[in-house]
Symmetry: C2
Subunit: 294 residues, 2 copies
């Protein structure tokens, strides 16, 4: 959970707002299921966002509030085409000594999303939960290069690795998507999703290869949180399904893509905050027409 200061070089705008992977993912999960949030904030984390999460049914007892502490803060600037961004400042603050503690009420959760933190901390979360149906994990180049051994130890313990295309190339050492998928599956996770931004996402699992296009949005306003929205909606949708089979996970990828597309159309978490369950589902329905050969 974070407070971001985001500048947009294209428009000259600058904003500060509540953000962070857990925030975006929880808002997206809430379209389908009850998010249980684990994280840490200072007493500066915007109350509006805490209220918005509560209003959507999020269970927040896993969110530590450190009195007198300051929330993790990121300050960045997007290039005019929004395709890249530079980090101007990162203050870990209360996040620096964060070690996730899973409340006992959360330990039997069926779906677990391990956010993009140190792989040893991700493993420590798994040590605290009881037999979930599916464990998904995100990671990033920082851990791929800096903590490769710990990341490799985590991968066989997870059911779904969700990773950006750039990161997937770094982790697999492969250039082409088909080989990337094979190589990453061989590293241990049961399923792998490679996200290609505006070009969609690939899912690799025992049933083969699936591709979902990105929803062709009219324009992107702010890419922040797209990946977290994707993961949050995907797991929320799965939690609401009777069976976790080949079709369910494929449709969950589409649902994740729909949520991500709604996220990027507005600033910060605004897209997710304003959308309804039906907005996500209606957008996901358009995917069927987008790939129909009839």
């Amino acid at each position: 959970m974070a407070v971001d200061t985001v500048e947009f070089a294209g428009t000259g705008e600058k904003f500060e707002w509540a953000a962070g992977s857990a925030t975006f993912a929880a808002l997206a999960t809430a379209f389908f299921a009850t998010p249980r949030v684990v994280g840490v904030v200072g007493d500066d984390f915007p109350k509006d966002m805490m209220d918005a999460l509560k209003k959507r049914g999020a269970e927040l007892e896993g969110v530590e509030v450190i009195p007198g502490g300051k929330t993790f803060r990121w300050h960045g600037r997007y290039a005019p085409d929004l395709a890249s961004r530079e980090s101007l400042a990162t203050h870990l603050n209360v996040f620096e000594t964060f070690s996730p503690k899973i409340p006992s009420a959360f330990r039997a959760s069926r779906y677990v999303l391990l956010g993009n933190i140190h792989p040893a901390l991700q493993s420590s979360v798994l040590d605290q939960v009881e037999k979930p149906d599916l464990v998904a994990a995100d990671t990033m180049n920082f851990w791929i290069h800096g903590e490769r051994a710990k990341l490799e130890a985590l991968l066989p313990r997870i059911d779904l690795l969700i990773i950006n295309e750039d990161e997937s190339r770094d982790l697999s050492g492969e250039r082409y998507i088909s080989r990337i998928g094979k190589r990453l599956l061989a590293m241990g996770p049961k399923r792998v999703i490679v996200k290609q931004g505006e070009y969609g996402a690939y899912l690799f699992d025992e049933h083969g290869t699936f591709h979902a296009p990105a929803y062709p949005v009219e324009s992107v306003v702010d890419p922040t949180g797209a990946g977290d929205s994707f993961a949050g909606a995907l797991l929320g949708y799965l939690d609401a399904q009777p069976v976790l089979d080949r079709g369910a996970i494929r449709r969950a990828v589409v649902m994740g893509s729909a949520a991500a597309s709604i996220c990027v159309e507005k600033y910060g978490a605004k897209g997710l905050l304003e959308a309804t369950h039906d907005d996500i589902v209606n957008r996901a329905r358009e995917f069927a027409s987008l790939v129909s050969t009839h």
Copy 2:
């Protein structure tokens, strides 16, 4: 029609072979229909390739052979990742004064592909043909920037613009695929296909938006001719269909993607020369599984 000298910086290899848009497109068309080729060569164009085209049923009376002339020659070098290439030399040779003359036997052709030449020459081809069912045209940045007015005059006369993503941004002035599609349709063509290389292709027409992923090949050996294979197979497939409806054109995009993927797996035209009709169709069938949400 061209003789290419192609260097691969990644492997240090260097080859010379028969190539050119018309050659690749005709080989790909021949999987489904009879290609009628219009072009110009010198007497140095490899006889093997002419024989290969004839063997596949291509009608070659539109190919002018200039005695003592030299064929268009391109010499280029691909970067190690094959994502970019530099032109080391281009010799127009007999192509310099080429003005396409459509043989009378070709004038009633139902499908016409206007290769990537000066838009005024593309228009002159259209003046020579009788009411085709569909006219497709390729173009490139060189004409978009240098001959924009003539290109804009051509667009309302064609049924299908086939264009790379970079070029589509240049021509439309838009960044996002959805707006690119709308803007390009507004410029006159009945349908627009935007090719995104390894990320697939979008089709925009009166029926809406269609997306086909690229076939996830294990590795790319030589990207030359991928776009021409795409267009050639697409039109060949359409020519073999009873009705040119929404589904036919969508399936034709998939067939084009299948042919392009087979082209890039081997050097030069080798992939197309070694493949059969069934290889293309079987690969196209895999697309159904790739996007199935069941």
